[in-house]
Symmetry: C2
Subunit: 207 residues, 2 copies
DNA sequence: TTGACGAGACGGTGCGTATCGTTTCGCGTA
DNA sequence: TACGCGAAACGATACGCACCGTCTCGTCAA
């Protein structure tokens, strides 16, 4: 394996990096993932394309970092400064807490700034296993862990049966919403996610 | 809108059509969706590429028809001849019936002949709304309708609460399995799908 | 002084279209 | 039923174009 001499990241141009992020996100939104090209990103960012190839291996990775950066900006705007809030709030009412987080997710899924890049990253991950693992690890898994913790807390208070696997339980809420979004197989609304929580906690069979 | 003179489908070469399906499926399996090209499919099929462009608008549509054709072959092999069986069996035990169908779905998801093309079609649909609608309508929706019918039958026998929306209820089984497969976020086993059915029917909260 | 930078040249590949003969098939006639 | 004609699909391949990923300039900033 021949390794390129690693570029010196201390000398990296922050301005170019930001311009590349902006250009990548804009292009994916405007012309779609398939039609955005590295040459196009470079031209739009006012950057030599070698600068992109120096720091990223593919357009998918450019977009992933651009998206992570965008997400960070939004997170800081929502929960300002260092006192960022982590975890799903625990008011003692599991159903209400879950409905609240899912409503936030609905908002995000409907935000046009997120739509195109999210779809691009998802699509690339479906077909490219290595990249998919990265998307899961850096984007999705941290979110899922929040559900696991909240459900474990609910098991201690008796709101969820102790024999339930939280890792599977969370999928009953999250996966249907994800599928509706991915496959466009139904409307994405608060009413829908509220219903999901009710069905999953209460079960489909009569009590 | 200028419309090309539509080709005469009665004169279409059946041999070329089959060769193109085979080549497309083989290439997607061997080199991946991104790297399969129309020129590659044509060369492998021993066909002029104009023959592909004459009948299909994109490589995604070629693959969709190839996959539908493949699915038909399998369906005929499983339920031979004209007496094809439709619908989810109704033994009166909803949980058992659902577990059985989901096990069949697990088998299909793990079949290497299906994996690569399914992922390709899914990925393309995520990013290309028009194409996604086609995949849903021709591939997914017919399957989902079977669940709706079986759940409605279960409502009549009292196995499912009458106020439940079957369209949403089915997502509690199907979507988690789909997400695990799409995102590779956990193992796909009979034990897993069995658990999904138990959780969804019984609910997460104590009874 | 050194290495990232913007710019752009380079050969290579696949795109989608156009245009070769060639082959196949439907249809009218013997 | 057998034959022959014409039209259209066929395999092959050339075309211009866009983008790929690499390489090499001269410039500029740390």
């Amino acid at each position: 394996m021949v390794q390129k001499p690693a570029p010196d990241s201390t000398r990296r141009s922050e301005k170019s990096r930001r311009a590349i992020y902006d250009a990548a996100l804009a292009l994916v939104g405007e012309v779609g993932y398939t039609k955005t090209t590295i040459e196009g990103i470079a031209a739009r960012a006012g950057v030599g394309k070698q600068t992109i190839y120096r720091w990223w291996p593919s357009k998918a990775e450019v977009l992933l970092e651009a998206f992570l950066d965008l997400s960070e900006q939004f997170a800081e705007a929502a929960a300002p400064e260092e006192q960022a809030e982590y975890g799903i709030p625990d008011t003692g009412d599991l159903a209400a807490d879950l409905k609240n987080v899912l409503r936030l997710t609905v908002d995000e899924l409907l935000d046009p700034r997120f739509e195109a890049p999210s779809r691009a990253l998802t699509a690339e991950g479906v077909v490219n296993e290595q990249f998919g693992a990265q998307v899961i690890a850096r984007l999705l898994e941290p979110q899922l862990q929040l559900y696991v913790r909240r459900l474990e807390a609910a098991q201690e208070t008796g709101e969820v049966r102790p024999d339930i696997d939280p890792r599977i339980a969370l999928e009953l809420f999250v996966a249907p919403l994800a599928q509706r979004w991915i496959q466009r197989t139904g409307p994405i609304t608060y009413a829908y996610t509220d219903t999901l929580v009710d069905y999953a906690l209460g079960g489909l069979a009569p009590r």
